[in-house]
């Protein structure tokens, strides 16, 4: 009995902080999304008006679309690449530990700090990459211009993510027992067949979790984009959660925009629902796929 009181005392700091700074803000937003409130004056109840506005907000839906492109591009490049690296580094090759460390290195640094470095590397006038391209005789590319900014942002995201997913795949691969492979090699299975018919199916459940993690993280990411392009040029790299951020904290460089708390809460709720629905759809589809095995 006494022990239970101690348990409450020990969990109290955690519960208290989670409720006040984790749960309360969500209810705060659930309330303000029905109000017209710009951060000053008296909030005015306007019912579903904010949501009607979300429906009409072409800028928001453009940012949702951009988020899909960003997420799709990032995953298409990151997942196969990290899986390939994991499969190779799961074998006993020379320098395996060193290579793993090198591939994982980008993930330990701050995304915003590295974005500053990438800003210098991809700068269109005198960036490191363009200097190199010019010297090779290819001519320069406007990496952060309207046409290529999204590609650049995706490439940077891939750079920061591959090592992380490689490690997760490796953890999954190490759980596949060796005798499965031994049996296969006795049957004369070649490496490609081994990857497709043994490794992939046995990695199924782990893969399902990793892809889900990758999808949700990508949908929510905006830090690096905020530092690198601020969503520009012309909103080409504006993703959902960056658009949301700007509604609450207008950027220094963007003097035209104003804080809009009521509307921002409605956009936040809508964005959370979009992420939730996509996660759910993915979960249903991937479950069906893994059931067919």
């Amino acid at each position: 009995m006494r022990k239970k009181i101690h348990a409450y005392i020990f969990t109290f700091p955690s519960i208290f902080l989670t409720l006040t700074l984790g749960v309360y803000p969500i209810f705060w937003a659930l309330r303000y999304m029905f109000f017209d409130y710009q951060g000053f004056g008296e909030p005015r109840f306007i019912g579903l008006e904010n949501f009607a506005r979300v429906g009409r907000d072409t800028q928001f839906w453009q940012s949702v679309w951009n988020t899909f492109i960003y997420t799709g591009g990032k995953l298409i490049l990151t997942l196969p690449m990290s899986l390939i690296l994991a499969v190779i580094l799961n074998r006993a090759i020379r320098g395996r530990q060193l290579l793993r460390s090198v591939y994982f290195l980008p993930t330990i640094f701050s995304a915003s700090v590295m974005s500053i470095v990438f800003y210098i590397i991809f700068n269109s006038y005198n960036g490191v990459v363009n200097q190199f391209l010019i010297k090779m005789g290819f001519g320069s590319l406007d990496w952060l211009g309207a046409k290529y900014a999204m590609l650049t942002v995706i490439l940077i995201a891939v750079w920061g993510a591959v090592g992380n997913y490689m490690l997760l795949f490796l953890a999954g691969l190490q759980n596949i027992p060796d005798d499965v492979y031994e049996a296969a090699s006795l049957d004369g299975v070649n490496p490609a067949q081994r990857l497709w018919y043994i490794t992939m199916p046995m990695l199924g459940p782990v893969m399902q979790m990793i892809i889900m993690l990758a999808i949700t993280t990508s949908l929510k990411g905006y830090e690096s984009i905020m530092v690198l392009t601020e969503g520009g040029p012309f909103g080409k790299t504006e993703v959902m959660f960056l658009y949301l951020y700007k509604l609450f904290f207008p950027l220094v460089s963007d003097s035209g925009s104003v804080q809009n708390i009521g509307y921002g809460s409605a956009v936040g709720f809508t964005s959370a629902v979009i992420v939730g629905v996509i996660t759910l759809i993915y979960f249903k589809i991937s479950k069906k796929l893994s059931n067919t095995y």
């Binding site: 984790g22 937003a29 995304a111 915003s112 800003y119 210098i120 490191v128 997760l168 959660f241």
Partner: protein, 278 residues
């Protein structure tokens, strides 16, 4: 060794080494660039600086205020790490060893905070709460909010508890220990590896955090941490487009992580895998 095998080996190693080069490229650019002059960063043809400009660091440290940013980053990260370790170790101990009412609720609550995200919306009420408490004028507001997001650390911690046998608790109980002294004298010392890995994870998160300290330092420039101060330099404090200082600043921020990584890279990698399993 036949020919096709030789070719496949070559392709494999070319792929591995090219990938490694791409991964290291931005870091190498940052490190060597930080010792160049601005002119050499923007037009130089060589990777290595023609003459090493060590004063870039002195300039960044004093003129561009990186001494202040570094101190703020160290202060924030250290206290976030200590606070998170204490709170999650205590909570994990109670949840793993005691059957109390609301235990399931607690676990559901923690996992929900991992899955539900409404992005930057929460920053506003969090900031307002800190203003109400008068904590927005110091880094304590940032520290408390970062500690409050401890669900991942909690799940990492509780994963390690499975490895500490309950017999130890019972033996200690018979020897006259109570709930608290078992925690301090038996559990915490045995929990060292868990504390190390969780500390690494938490410290990295706090050290690299950008958005939260950005919001808090909007009206208080003296609260800028390294990522915030560096990103704000883009707008220029008379240092506009002085790339060598930006790179020196980036290196100041990268260096501590790099050193820890070189010393403890296995634990670092354990962090990420553990975080997902939890």
């Amino acid at each position: 060794m036949n020919v096709s095998r030789l070719i496949s080996r070559t392709v494999l190693w070319a792929f591995l080494l090219l990938t490694a080069a791409l991964m290291l490229f931005p870091i190498i650019i940052a490190v060597f660039g930080s010792f160049k002059t601005n002119l050499e960063v923007t037009t130089g043809a060589t990777l290595l600086p023609s003459s090493w400009q060590f004063q870039n660091y002195a300039h960044a440290w004093t003129q561009a205020n990186f001494a202040q940013f570094t101190w703020n980053s160290v202060f924030t990260s250290v206290f976030v790490t200590i606070g998170t370790l204490l709170i999650t170790a205590m909570a994990a101990y109670a949840v793993d060893r005691v059957d109390f009412r609301g235990k399931r609720f607690y676990i559901v609550l923690q996992s929900m905070t991992l899955f539900i995200s409404i992005g930057a919306v929460v920053l506003k009420p969090q900031f307002d709460l800190m203003v109400a408490l008068g904590l927005q004028t110091s880094l304590w507001g940032v520290i408390i909010i970062l500690i409050s997001a401890h669900a991942t650390a909690f799940f990492m911690m509780i994963g390690f508890f499975k490895g500490i046998p309950r017999d130890l608790d019972e033996a200690a109980l018979i020897d006259g220990c109570n709930f608290y002294s078992i925690f301090w004298r038996i559990i915490l010392p045995l929990l060292k590896p868990a504390l190390g890995v969780t500390a690494l994870f938490t410290f990295r998160g706090a050290w690299n955090e950008y958005i939260l300290p950005l919001v808090f330092s909007m009206s208080r420039p003296d609260l800028q941490t390294l990522p915030v101060g560096l990103a704000n330099l883009r707008y220029g404090f008379g240092a506009a487009s002085e790339n060598q200082y930006l790179l020196a600043g980036a290196c100041i921020s990268i260096l501590p992580m790099l050193i820890v990584y070189i010393l403890a890279n296995r634990s670092f990698m354990q962090v990420n895998v553990g975080a997902v399993k939890g």
